[in-house]
Symmetry: C2
Subunit: 340 residues, 2 copies
C-alpha cells in the first residue's frame, strides 16, 4: 500500500492566557507513513483511535510543565488515548491489541516499547472512547480520590464542582451510593439537568446562581471536591464544617491566569480542615483490578451514568482544548481519530 497521511497536532507556542487554536497548537497534515513497511526495529505500529482532551493539559503548555512535564515546542501533544496495534515485532503487543495510555497526537506512531501503555479489552460493548473517560483516567480519578480521601460519614454533605464532567459526575454517583447529600455545580442549565438526573440533591448553575448563597442554605459542607480553586474554593472554605475534607483534583480557575488567589485559607485552622491534593497515577495502583472488574460493566448496564462529547478529527484538537478550558464543552471531551 502506498504511504498514507499521518496527520499530527504540534505544540507550537506557549500561551500566556487561554490557548489559541492554530497558534498555541497547529494541525499538520504534511507527513505520510508507509503502514506496511515502516521499520519497527523490534517495536510496534499503533493506530490512534481516540484521544482524550482534559483540563490538566493546560499545565503542560508551558516550558516547565504542570505536574507533568511541559510539551516540547514543535513536537506532537500527548494525552490519554486508545489505539490498536497494526503490526508488531514484540510479543508485548500483538496486532489487533487495544492499548490505553499516553498517546502522541498522531494518526499513527511507531513505539519502541510498551512502556506505560495498558492492554484493554472491551467485554461489555462500550465505545473505546469511554476507556478514556468514565472507564479511564477521569473515572479512576473520581474512584481513587473518593475511596482514599473523602472519608464519608453518615449525614455528610458533599459539594462537587464541575459536576457534569467525567470526574464530577462519577463523584456525585459515588457520594449518592454512600447515602450522602450532594450539592453540585456546573456552568449550564443543561449540565444542571444532567446532575439532577444522576442524583444530585441540589444542582445549580454557578454562572447564574451565587455559590455562597447555595452553600449557606444547603451546607455546611463536610466534603468538598474541587476542580475550580480560586473564589469557588474560598466559598467552600467559608461554608465548611469543622473537620471537613477538601479533595483537590483541579483548579481550572487559575490555569489560564497564572493561579487564582485564595485569601481565606485561615479557615483551615479554625475548622480543622484537611486539604488533600492528588494525581491519580500515584494512588490508583491498589484500586486498578477492582476498578476494571466492576466499573466498565456498571457503565455498560447504565448503573453508572456517563456522557461524552465526541469530536471527529485531529484538526479539531485545538478547538476542543480551548472549549475544555472555557467550560463550553457539553460533556467529557474526546477526539475520534479513527475507527478500529
Amino acid at each position: 500500500m502506498a504511504p498514507v497521511r499521518n496527520a499530527r497536532v504540534l505544540m507550537n507556542e506557549y500561551p500566556t492566557g487561554y490557548p489559541e487554536p492554530g497558534k498555541t497548537t497547529v494541525y499538520d497534515d504534511s507527513q505520510t507513513i508507509d503502514i506496511d513497511n515502516v521499520p519497527l526495529n523490534g517495536g510496534f505500529l499503533l493506530k490512534t483511535l481516540v484521544l482524550s482532551i482534559d483540563p490538566y493539559l493546560r499545565g503542560r503548555m508551558r516550558p516547565t510543565g504542570g505536574y507533568t512535564p511541559g510539551f516540547p515546542l514543535g513536537k506532537p501533544l500527548l494525552s490519554y488515548g486508545v489505539g490498536v496495534v497494526l503490526r508488531s515485532e514484540t510479543d508485548k503487543a500483538k496486532a489487533g491489541d487495544h492499548l490505553y495510555g499516553q498517546f502522541t497526537h498522531e494518526e499513527y506512531s511507531v513505539r519502541a516499547v510498551l512502556g506505560d501503555l495498558a492492554h484493554i479489552e472491551d467485554k461489555h460493548g462500550l465505545p473505546w472512547s469511554v476507556y478514556t473517560g468514565a472507564a479511564g483516567m477521569p473515572g479512576q480519578t473520581a474512584y481513587v480520590g473518593w475511596k482514599e480521601f473523602a472519608k464519608p460519614k453518615k449525614d455528610d454533605v458533599v459539594f462537587v464542582t464541575t459536576g457534569a464532567g467525567p470526574v464530577g459526575s462519577f463523584v456525585i454517583q459515588l457520594a449518592k451510593a454512600d447515602g450522602l447529600k450532594v450539592i453540585a455545580s456546573a456552568g449550564s442549565d443543561e449540565k444542571v439537568a444532567f446532575m439532577k438526573e444522576i442524583g444530585a440533591d441540589v444542582a445549580f448553575n454557578y454562572k447564574t446562581t451565587s455559590i455562597s448563597e447555595v452553600l449557606a442554605k444547603e451546607g455546611p459542607i463536610d466534603i468538598y471536591w474541587d476542580h475550580v480553586g480560586g473564589e469557588t474554593l474560598e466559598a467552600a472554605l467559608d461554608a465548611a464544617d469543622i473537620g471537613a475534607r477538601f479533595i483537590e483534583c483541579g483548579m481550572i480557575s487559575g490555569y489560564n491566569t497564572g493561579g487564582a488567589p485564595v485569601r481565606n485559607l485561615m479557615q483551615v485552622i479554625g475548622k480543622d480542615i484537611t486539604i488533600r491534593g492528588f494525581i491519580v497515577s500515584r494512588s490508583f495502583g491498589k484500586y486498578l483490578k477492582e476498578f476494571y472488574d466492576t466499573v466498565p460493566e456498571k457503565l455498560a448496564k447504565g448503573e453508572i451514568k456517563y456522557r461524552e462529547e465526541v469530536t471527529h478529527g485531529l484538526d479539531k484538537v485545538g478547538d476542543v482544548i480551548l472549549g475544555v478550558q472555557k467550560g463550553t464543552n457539553k460533556a467529557k471531551a474526546v477526539i475520534h481519530v479513527a475507527d478500529g
Copy 2:
C-alpha cells in the same frame, strides 16, 4: 481590708489593621473590689497572676471573631492565664489552688463555676508563666500538631516558621528528637541564634534572607509548620516534595490585612500535598496526661528549652499585643499581673 484596685483591659474598638494600644484596647483602673467581702454566691474569687499574649488574639478583635468568638466591646479581653484562688464557696476550687485556662483581663474576678479552668501544680519549680507557654497552650499546640499530623519519616526535611516562638521552638526540638533535618526562620538575628542553639540545622532571618533561596538550597521539604501563611506558604508549596505534610497552625501575615492571598495552591495537586489545619483544643485530649507527665519536668531540667519575655502590668497589654502581631517581641509574650 478596704477595697483595692481591680484594673482591667477592655475591648474598645475593632481595628481594621494592626491593633492600636489605647484605642483598640484600653486600660481601665477605675474599678475596685473588696477582696474579703465580695459575694461569691457559691463560686470563687480568683487572683490573676499571669496572662498569655498570643497571635491568635487578633482574630477575636472583630465582631464575628476568628475561630473563637469575637470580644464584646466594653468588656475585658480574654486570654490564657494562670491565677490563684483567694476565697471559695465550692469544693471544685479551694483557696490556694492554682488554675490555668481562659482568664478575663482583670486583676481579680469572681467565677461562678470552674468551667474549663484546669488545676495545675508546679512540681518542678517552674515559673507560673511557663504554664501559659511551653507547658501551656503553645507547648500543647506543638506537641499535638507534631504527634498527630507531621508523620515524620527518616531523612525528612522540616521547615518551621516563627521558630523562636513558643510553638516553633518546641516543634524544632520535637523534629530534632525524631532525627530530622530542620530549617527554621524567624525575624531577628538574635532569634536565629536561639534557633541554632536548640538544634535547627539551618536557621535564617527571613527579613534579610530569601526564604525561596534557602528552601531551594536546603529542601525540598517534607513537613512544613506554618505560622505565617501568604508568601511564606507560597514559598513552602513551591519547595515541597511529593507527599509533603503542611501543618497549619497560624497565618499571621493575614491577620491584620484581611487575609494574605496564596496563588500557587495548585502545587497541592501535582505534589500530593496534605494541608492540615487544627486548633489545639479539639485534638489535645488524648495527649493531656502524657504532656503534663513529661513536659514540665523536661522544661525544668533544660531538656526542652524555652524562652519568655515577661512584661509587668496589665497597662502594658495593648503594647504587647501589638508587638506579638508585628513580631517585635523577643520570645513568648506574657504579662505578669501579680505574684502568688
